[in-house]
């Protein structure tokens, strides 16, 4: 696995995406505060945070007995932009499919009218 593959699988998990969304909305959080917001245990949240930290999507700093996590927005933007880009590629392709199919159809109808 490359570092990028790790980033991909880190962000591919729905619980981790939920944690990222909460961290973004709240500006940060600890395993304890996050566990109150998602339907998994504090231990499970801590594991997910470790995965996210390893790929650089969040950074933890010591805050009393716990670590307080914040989202690394640059790394998250990079991950989102990559898929966004693939998505816009397909948007453009589908627009071209639409125009082609419609021009072919129009052409066929015109011919039928001419012949009829």
């Amino acid at each position: 696995m490359t570092a990028d593959d790790d980033l991909w699988s880190a962000i591919g998990d729905p619980t981790r995406r939920a944690l990222l969304d909460i961290l973004l909305a709240d500006g940060g959080g600890t395993a304890t505060t996050l566990a109150a917001r998602v339907p998994v245990t504090r231990q499970a949240v801590a594991k997910h945070l470790t995965v996210l930290d390893r790929v650089g999507l969040v950074h933890g700093t010591a805050a009393g007995r716990e670590k307080r996590y914040r989202v690394d927005e640059a790394q998250l933007a990079r991950a989102a932009a990559q898929l966004e880009s693939v998505g816009s590629a397909w948007d453009a392709r589908l627009q071209r499919i639409k125009k082609l199919a419609e021009s072919i159809e129009k052409n066929t109808h015109t011919k039928e009218k001419d012949n009829g």
């Binding site: 990559q82 898929l83 880009s85 397909w90 639409k98």
Partner: protein, 156 residues
């Protein structure tokens, strides 16, 4: 971050004012596919057949990848795998899976596209897709070709 984006799977849909048969031919037949996607496309529209698609000039930084046709159900669905190395058959883990599903709607067609396999293939393939997109250079590249193509259809 956009929660609607299920990372690892892309889903798109569009309404096309043409019959499912016409839309099916446009998304599956290499002679039409090369008008909306790669610069060259050569494969048999037969389940199991592997051919290739070419982006740009392979000798000038372009790309050649294989495309394996999986399902041909005119005019309902067309499924294929792509991005595997030239000559390789597309299977889970070495390629992206694309499905076109067509349903009649009004006088036209609802076209749904899904592309999956990013998670299995990892990050690099998304970068590959991005490169192909950049290679196409969008409408500047496409519009002149569309005009030429449309004119040739009218002339035939």
């Amino acid at each position: 971050m956009d929660q609607a984006v299920e990372l690892g799977t892309l889903e798109r849909e569009i309404y096309v004012d043409a019959t499912p048969e016409t839309v099916f031919d446009v998304v599956s037949d290499p002679k039409h596919v090369r008008e909306w996607w790669p610069d060259e496309a050569s494969y048999d529209v037969t389940p199991g057949a592997t051919g290739q698609i070419v982006f740009g000039d392979p000798e000038a930084g372009g790309g050649v990848v294989a495309l394996t046709v999986l399902e041909v159900d005119r005019p309902r669905s067309f499924t294929f795998r792509w991005t595997q190395a030239p000559g390789e058959t597309g299977v889970e883990g070495n390629s992206l899976l694309v499905t076109f599903a067509l349903t009649p709607e009004g006088g036209g067609t609802r076209l749904r596209m899904t592309e999956t396999g990013f998670r299995e293939m990892g990050w690099e393939v998304a970068v590959l897709e991005q490169q192909y997109r950049e290679h196409e250079t969008g409408w500047d590249h496409f519009l002149p070709r569309l005009a030429t193509y449309a004119a040739s259809l009218d002339a035939s």
